[in-house]
Amino acid sequence: MNRIEDSSRASSGLGRDRRNRRLVTIWSMAWGLAFTVVAFGIKRLEWSSEATLAGVIGTSILGLGTVVAYRRFLLETDELRRKIEVEALALAFGVGVFGGLSCWLLAVSGALATKDLAFVFVAMIFTHVLGILLGYRRYS
């Protein structure tokens, strides 16, 4: 409780919050860019296994940085914002795990035409954003 309390007070919903949010944006954009480049390299440029491995490791490091930055943002942000974010994360997690597994079952059974379930991750991101928007609306 102390860490959350101290960090909430320090953030004031202002300076530190803005800085943390900016860091999350920078890390996630860097990850998105790296992911796009690596996916393009693997699919279109037929990268060697060494280049692919280096690309995947680099992307994973940026992904880890994004997680750490987001965790810090969550711990240090204003308590209502934290609640909204956590509720949105729960919603996105539900869509990702349960929706994703349902789609996987459909794909295995042949009822779903595609076996590429990458759209589940996109659905998770959209659900998270939607959850945040709904949260701000609910508490205002």
Partner: protein
């Protein structure tokens, strides 16, 4: 949970932004507490209590909902 935050704030002629700054939270948090949509954490409730120099139970009424 009902509370007297809006009344106490008005008595001091503070805006929501003023109160938010004193409590070191966002204005949205103050607004959500005032309209009863959000119950503050225990640390924040103690900060509110200290700010208004009143016991928590005189500011928040756990027996009543919206």
């Amino acid at each position: 949970m009902k509370n007297r935050l809006k009344v106490l704030r008005a008595e001091r002629d503070w805006t929501q932004a003023d109160l938010a700054q004193r409590l070191e939270v966002s204005r949205q948090t103050v607004n959500a507490i005032e309209i009863g949509k959000y119950d503050p954490s225990l640390p924040l409730a103690f900060r509110i209590s200290r700010l208004f120099r009143m016991p928590i139970e005189e500011i928040f009424d756990p027996e009543t909902g919206l």
